[in-house]
Symmetry: C2
Subunit: 183 residues, 2 copies
């Protein structure tokens, strides 16, 4: 079983795209649907674009944070969570040259990335896919699922993260909003 | 320019294989030569086996350690460094489930991975390639280059690392020794 997933924008998929907003840097071409499939390292030629990401180990989360997260976080694919967001992000070379402790300081001590995320659990289910090491155009695919009643909370979370010190290192970001397609 | 490299064991290459010793877990088939080439994610069908790895950011090194390492470390391909070792390593699921601070504690506070490595610089040039997120059989390809006069020091370094707490999490390891082929 592979940890690698393809996020394909095209004519069909489990999610209907409601809007694609370029936040920083080069945009992505608009597509009507998003399809997510378990994949390999082979480049997909489906759809108009495919972003590849891999589920990996946590890179900054400390043990006490991990325990808090695990005790409260929601699973993906909850029936009520019909809204989703795919927000691919790339960070600058300056970020990647930093030592681990400097990145951790910016990530949590200064930007409270985990602490902020915790406030929105279990309403906003999150999953992170890594893609920097796959020679992809982004470094991360961040994925969120929530019920329509939590849409305002989600906007607040995204707004807060974008004002942080950490986000100063984000040099490409596209915000893709989705609604689960009827099966 | 890709950060991905293929290490192919086969009939030709820049390095002659002197021995392949299985240290833990499944061995690798013996080959006469090792070839290292800049690659893509596409699976190579050259040689008897190919291990793929990617140069990535540092995952544990802190700023003061990074500065020490950068001030003293040697480049690869020094003319006198005619000996090399490729030691592919896999760590257990127990390791990967640990939080970042727990992995760091084992890595440095308990096992002194960086401190030990520093003692053997600049004699032993090192480079780390990541491969866990590429669905590869190993998690890391560790690469070392040294002059024949430093061969004893290299054996000492390898022996010390294998006695550490960190190494208890290594569940597959193969030790491949090489001599640079005449051009």
């Amino acid at each position: 079983m592979s940890n690698i997933f393809d996020f394909t924008g095209g004519a069909s998929g489990q999610w209907n795209v409601t809007r694609i907003t370029p936040v920083r840097g080069e945009p992505l071409v608009h597509v009507p649907c998003l399809n997510i499939v378990s994949a390999s390292l082979t480049k997909s030629d489906h759809g108009l674009w495919t972003l590849k990401g891999v589920r990996s180990n946590l890179r900054y989360t400390e043990k006490n944070e991990q325990e808090k997260l695990q005790s409260i976080q929601a699973n993906l694919a909850r029936p009520e969570a019909t809204h989703a967001a795919l927000i691919p992000i790339r960070k600058s070379e300056d970020w990647w040259k930093l030592a681990q402790d400097d990145r951790r300081k910016i990530f949590e001590a200064q930007s409270k990335h985990i602490e902020t995320g915790l406030k929105y659990l279990p309403a906003i289910a999150r999953r992170l896919y890594h893609c920097r090491d796959l020679n992809e155009p982004f470094d991360f695919l961040t994925w969120f699922e929530y019920a329509p009643k939590d849409a305002d909370a989600f906007e607040e979370l995204v707004r807060m993260l974008r004002t942080t010190e950490e986000w100063k290192f984000v040099d490409r970001e596209v915000d893709i909003r989705l609604i689960r397609a009827r099966e």
